[in-house]
Symmetry: C6
Subunit: 74 residues, 6 copies
């Protein structure tokens, strides 16, 4: 799993959100490592509202995890 | 990711809820950055009850994260 | 977002549950503010078991948030 | 919302689980209060595996909330 | 609800996971207590990938609850 | 449930993520232990965007549990 972050700590909520996006992609890649398949699927799910909302949901779960690790950046 | 909030801290639960709505949209944009596609999809998902409830679900997850960062505004 | 509660603190779990129901509706309204569309959709989703269970799920997430803010009303 | 419990505290995890089942039903009733409609839907969703798993999911979320209020009954 | 565990505390994460599997089944049984119906549905959902992933999701939520009750077995 | 980890503690977030992937698979196997069926389903769900996102969601929930057990690796 190359390029996995060394830490969940980030300077800002924005960086934490970017990390959440990354983790949601790494989750998909863990199940389907074949980049060719993923590229073929991309135009399908990225233009389907149900899939987009579901992807946003996964990002939200990871962002919750990362926010907790950063104590809400407070 | 322009206009990302500097902090998850908000003065009121209402402001926290507005931030949760914003984060759920930023999650969708992170997966589909093409605003033209998003505008094309909008009338579809915003008039579909399953998609509306799913969107409300993502907002709920982000609101939970934001509430925790604000210690429930207590 | 009119009529948003000033606080997540409630006297009882029952009041907290009512607030969770309200927040789940405010989430839907944030995505689809047109009350006419919402009224048109209502008979569809409120008689569809999948939509009803999904709505109950969103209420459950908000109730978890509100319970945490109230320290479980213990 | 008649018969709502006064407290989330229960003597045992089993009682907490029963309360979670109750809250998941109260969530459905909050969206669809018409008992006639609910009785008509029951044979549909209770014999559909997707709906059964989704219902079990809502119970799981409420059980998590109740377990936290009871500090895991430890 | 016979055979419900007296406690969420387990010796190991593995035992906690087995308990999570059990709770997810008890959730389904709470909604559909007729074992004959459940046995009829089993070959359908256990060979359907969407249902399998959804079941795994419910187990994950219960495992999170049980892990919290056991303070992560640390 | 052979090969279940003895502990949720891991040295790094990356190891925690790999464990989350493993737990999501063990959840599926708990519901469908027949490896032949699972191998037959694999090409179906691993090339279906909805299933991939749902799998990524389950991984996210387990990662949240594991992160909490490791106090966010901070």
């Amino acid at each position: 799993m190359s390029s996995f972050p060394k830490s969940l700590e980030t300077d800002t909520p924005e960086d934490g959100f970017a990390l959440a996006v990354k983790l949601s992609r790494l989750g998909v890649k863990a199940v389907q490592p074949d980049m060719e398949v993923l590229h073929r699927l991309r135009p399908i799910y990225s233009e389907d509202s149900t899939n987009l909302i579901a992807s946003s949901h996964v990002i939200a779960v990871h962002f919750q995890t990362i926010s907790a690790a950063n104590k809400g950046w407070v």
